[in-house]
Symmetry: C2
Subunit: 393 residues, 2 copies
């Protein structure tokens, strides 16, 4: 087959709020080859990734992403890896390209799964997809009382694990922050798995993070996520020395295999969190999962958009039985819910099952999506280089 079309759709809620909720917009990717269609999703900043798909060439190592994808042969998984390498070489100096490639790579795996009549995890070499234990991913409340109420809700909804992050955490005093962590533990109950996400708030300041450790240890927090930005390896490594039994988690900001490798090699992580929609897609995320396993670091998906993105984020470690925790956004905006026909819901034991249908096992709901399409039109030197394509042929 040849890749005949690569189309990007910018979707958004009618109003996008200034809160840490990534399900307020989405960039849906459709790839067509022969009679097959595959779907994927790029994480964040839809307009910027659209521009990187279609921008004029700057020089031989700064070409638009589409030029390395359209017209390429796609018959087996080696073609997906080859196309990824081509994009990385031809768009070496185009920073946004890795995010853009991510959604395309996901769509290529979905498409190939449909052609080969297999779920993506099987194409990746996994015989089985093991169920995952979802943690409810939540923003902190504005006050400890709100955090307590949110944790009680999560518990009442049947979740055995919950992550609280962003909001006021890390910005106030050490005792304010502690109050939120104690409230989360109280609401979740003594037996729940409690995870805390600092959202890079201390940048690379080890002392600020260290001051919060006592409360995290007292509340038996399983991991402290992103105390620092992704590259602050030395700060991570220093903090990891005194954090036990709390482990450090990070890596969602990685947009290459190498960045994830550095987090595993040098940061003293217990958990590496990979966003399939940023790191270069399922291909690179799977490479990281394998590397993490060899280095005794637990792999966790990072995702906060639709169930299509969620399925894509689970495939890379579907067959790694011990890496059981998965991120599961519980407060999706309506857009993210309406985007897909199928939804991944916890079973009666509270576990998430990775779809066993062909490809990603999740199909976009074109009717559901239509109201959210954001029409874009980009003109360069009087010529249209992008206009939102029709959702249906």
């Amino acid at each position: 087959m040849r890749i005949d079309a690569v189309d990007f759709y910018y979707l958004a809620m009618p109003e996008v709020l200034d809160i840490g909720d990534g399900s307020q917009d989405a960039l849906l990717v459709r790839v067509q080859a022969g009679e097959y269609v595959g779907w994927g999703e790029c994480e964040a900043a839809p307009l910027v990734s659209i521009a990187s798909l279609v921008c004029p060439m700057s020089h031989s190592a700064c070409k638009p992403v589409r030029d390395s994808v359209l017209g390429q042969t796609l018959d087996d998984i080696s073609d997906i890896y080859r196309i990824g390498a081509l994009v990385r070489a031809n768009s070496l100096d185009l920073l946004q390209a890795e995010h853009t490639l991510s959604g395309i790579d996901i769509a290529l795996w979905d498409l190939l799964g449909k052609k080969l009549q297999a779920p993506v995890f099987q194409l990746l070499g996994y015989a089985n997809a093991y169920p995952k234990l979802p943690y409810a991913s939540q923003l902190f409340g504005d006050t400890p009382a709100q955090t307590l109420a949110l944790a009680q809700q999560v518990r009442a909804a049947g979740f055995k694990a919950a992550k609280f992050g962003w909001g006021p955490y890390g910005l106030g005093s050490v005792s304010d922050d502690a109050a939120h962590v104690y409230a989360a533990r109280e609401g979740l109950g003594a037996d729940g798995i409690l995870l805390i996400d600092a959202g890079t708030v201390w940048i690379d300041d080890v002392a600020k993070a260290q001051a919060r450790l006592a409360a995290l240890q007292a509340c038996r927090v399983t991991w402290l996520e992103e105390p620092f930005v992704s590259g602050a390896l030395k700060s991570y490594a220093a903090l990891s020395q005194s954090a036990a039994p709390v482990k450090l988690a990070g890596g969602e900001g990685c947009h290459t295999f190498y960045m994830a490798q550095h987090m595993i090699d040098y940061a003293g992580l217990g958990y590496v969190q990979i966003d399939t929609g940023r790191i270069g897609g399922i291909s690179i995320a799977h490479q990281v999962a394998q590397y993490a396993q060899r280095n005794n670091v637990t792999y966790v998906n990072h995702t906060f958009t639709s169930n299509l993105a969620l399925s894509a984020s689970l495939q890379p470690y579907a067959g790694i039985e011990n890496d059981i925790i998965c991120e599961y956004p519980v407060a999706l905006k309506q857009l993210a819910w309406d985007m897909t026909h199928e939804h991944l819901l916890p079973d009666s034991a509270g576990l998430i099952h990775i779809p066993t249908g062909v490809g990603l096992g999740i199909t976009p709901n074109l009717e559901g999506i239509t109201p959210y399409v954001v029409d874009c039109d980009i003109q360069v030197a009087g010529k249209s280089v992008y206009r939102t394509p029709a959702l249906r042929a």
Copy 2:
């Protein structure tokens, strides 16, 4: 003062060729505050950086770059650092933002230099700007004979150092590649400083690079640049073990301080090459120069566009006397030449002097630029979010 306007201008040659020449287009940045105007340049992919300046917000950590700059106070250098930190926090999930910030940061330094009546290097704390020894930055010829002729031209033009890169190097056989290196050495003469740039051609394959070392050592090459992509730290470290006396150079792909820090800490580099137009501007490049000096790694600018970008690229290490080598593009496209009133030319001793005028000491030639302006128009949901602004008030 308050920052009143941030304007981006996409400039390009009438025809952009599929060659490794980054001077074929440019993204010029103008920042206005009170009665002052500062100019900067972002490296590569103008349309994508424009999109990241103006895109709609995705969520609280994925905002358009302009939102963190417009309206900010700008009175002293602490404001520049504060604005940079704000962009990095508010656009954490917007990958392109670091490239976009780079041109803005450069313009802020230029503007503040004009207000404080000082060259940028003095604002950075350097008492003096030491002259630099420019190496002529050249593409390899298609054949060794062409490479020989190019090296002879460079020598005839008075350059004591030259770098050959890209083109066929690394793609052919080991002996083909050796022939190019021998030709470059012959043309440059026995006393010239010869530098070779592999342009990331071997990705992370140490064996392919090692096979080329004998010719590099025999031809007394000072550095081998970018045998691998920026993040392939282990490959760099492994190659550095057997490369002496050839040193490794790399880092142009770094777009954060941390990435450069990792190259210095873990890659066994002799030279770290920083593109001020990518890494976050003069602020971060200067931070890297200081870190490199403390760690006995030599800092070198990376630049291949206009003399405005060249001046910006030299400021971060202007006062480090021992780090004398500088990249100097000798085959600028007409656009890059026409962009500025002033030009940085080697003196009779072959040295480049960093401008001592206020700010960057280089001013854009608005008349010269006009023919190269690429008009862009970006509409989102029926509303214009970007239209190329007028060059003159």
